[in-house]
């Protein structure tokens, strides 16, 4: 399970952490530690993949809770990011361009983007996040528009 899903988790964490590899690797490790702890409670109602996605999303949100409560400028940081936000990439490679564009989204939208790019269905995303499919559709529409704007520097 660890070997098979490592890349999937790391990439979702990379998208979430604006392409910062060290942070993403730490998060990925935390995810798999939680997976290991919860293995005995894993019921096969959901696929292992969906289950791991849930743990990944929750681990990222928990990281955010700790990080934001430290720097005190929390609420505004959870909103859509400023177009001038710095990202640790020169934007030459396509994936780096994508991480840089994702960095302009709110953290939750980054996670949704990662799930969409991974090919997860809207129904599954709704179950992972615990929101309605309609809400997921609205989010995806908004994200696509924003990404387009950012990538084309509109």
């Amino acid at each position: 399970m660890y070997q098979a899903h490592y890349g999937m988790v790391l990439q979702l964490c990379l998208g979430f952490s604006e392409g910062r590899e060290d942070q993403a690797k730490d998060l990925t490790q935390e995810v798999f530690i939680r997976v290991w702890r919860k293995l005995d409670t894993f019921r096969e109602e959901a696929s292992a993949k969906t289950w791991i996605y849930r743990i990944t999303v929750n681990t990222c949100l928990n990281f955010l809770k700790k990080q934001k409560s430290r720097d005190r400028k929390l609420i505004e940081a959870l909103r859509v990011r400023s177009d001038t936000a710095e990202t640790p990439t020169d934007g030459t490679d396509q994936t780096e361009v994508l991480y840089a564009a994702m960095a302009k989204l709110s953290e939750i939208d980054r996670l949704v983007t990662g799930l969409v790019l991974d090919g997860v269905s809207q129904e599954e995303i709704a179950a992972i996040l615990g929101i309605t499919e309609g809400n997921v559709r609205v989010k995806i529409h908004r994200i696509k528009k924003r990404l387009q704007k950012v990538i084309h520097h509109e």
């Binding site: 990439q11 949100l61 934001k68 939750i108 991974d118």
Partner: protein
């Protein structure tokens, strides 16, 4: 947006070659170590509280040997509220361990919000209540103490109680503010998720 489809393809391609730096065995060892450390820390906190309670119980009940009703009331208030604080801490630790990370993000955030509200009640209201009642209990002991020790030592004893008490209150206040900030983040995340 066809461009989005090409981003999707690039995203999947970028995954090739991503391999874990730790083997599964190393990861399990790390998880076991983290579990052990966290358990040791939680047990350590409770152990410190219980040992302090026992030492305080010994001093107040046996060593000083208070005779007056007012002092007995003071001892009862001090020990009773200290015990209540220990029970609440144990309850909070147990609740913290029961948190799930494999439910939906909304459920996990709700769970986290309830847990933080509980921590805030324990670390805020109940801790201040404990400190207040503990101080009241301490003040109730003073009349009997004053019969046996000089004014100088009485003043020294009262000062040595209140100075650390103020420092402790400031530390508690800082922790409460930290938990309050965490709660605000969780609330903001829930709102962001529902938008």
């Amino acid at each position: 947006m066809n461009e989005f489809e090409s981003l999707k393809a690039g995203w999947i391609d970028a995954r090739t070659g991503m391999t874990p730096s730790l083997s599964a065995t190393q990861l399990i060892e790390r998880a076991q170590r983290t579990n052990r450390d966290s358990l040791r820390f939680q047990r350590g906190t409770l152990l410190i509280l219980v040992v302090s309670f026992l030492m305080m119980g010994y001093l107040l009940l046996f060593y000083f040997g208070f005779r007056e009703t007012l002092s007995h009331l003071g001892v009862g208030v001090m020990l009773g509220f200290f015990l209540l604080r220990i029970i609440l801490e144990a309850y909070s630790i147990q609740k913290g361990r029961a948190k799930d990370y494999d439910t939906s993000a909304t459920d996990t955030l709700d769970q986290e919000r309830n847990y933080l509200k509980l921590r805030l009640r324990i670390h805020g209201f109940f801790t201040y209540l404990t400190l207040g009642m503990y101080t009241l209990g301490f003040l109730l002991l003073l009349p009997e103490f004053s019969r046996y020790i000089s004014s100088f030592w009485m003043a020294a004893m009262v000062t040595s109680y209140f100075v650390p008490g103020i420092v402790l209150t400031l530390i508690i206040r800082r922790n409460v503010q930290k938990e309050l900030r965490e709660l605000r983040v969780v609330v903001a995340l829930s709102e962001n998720l529902a938008e």
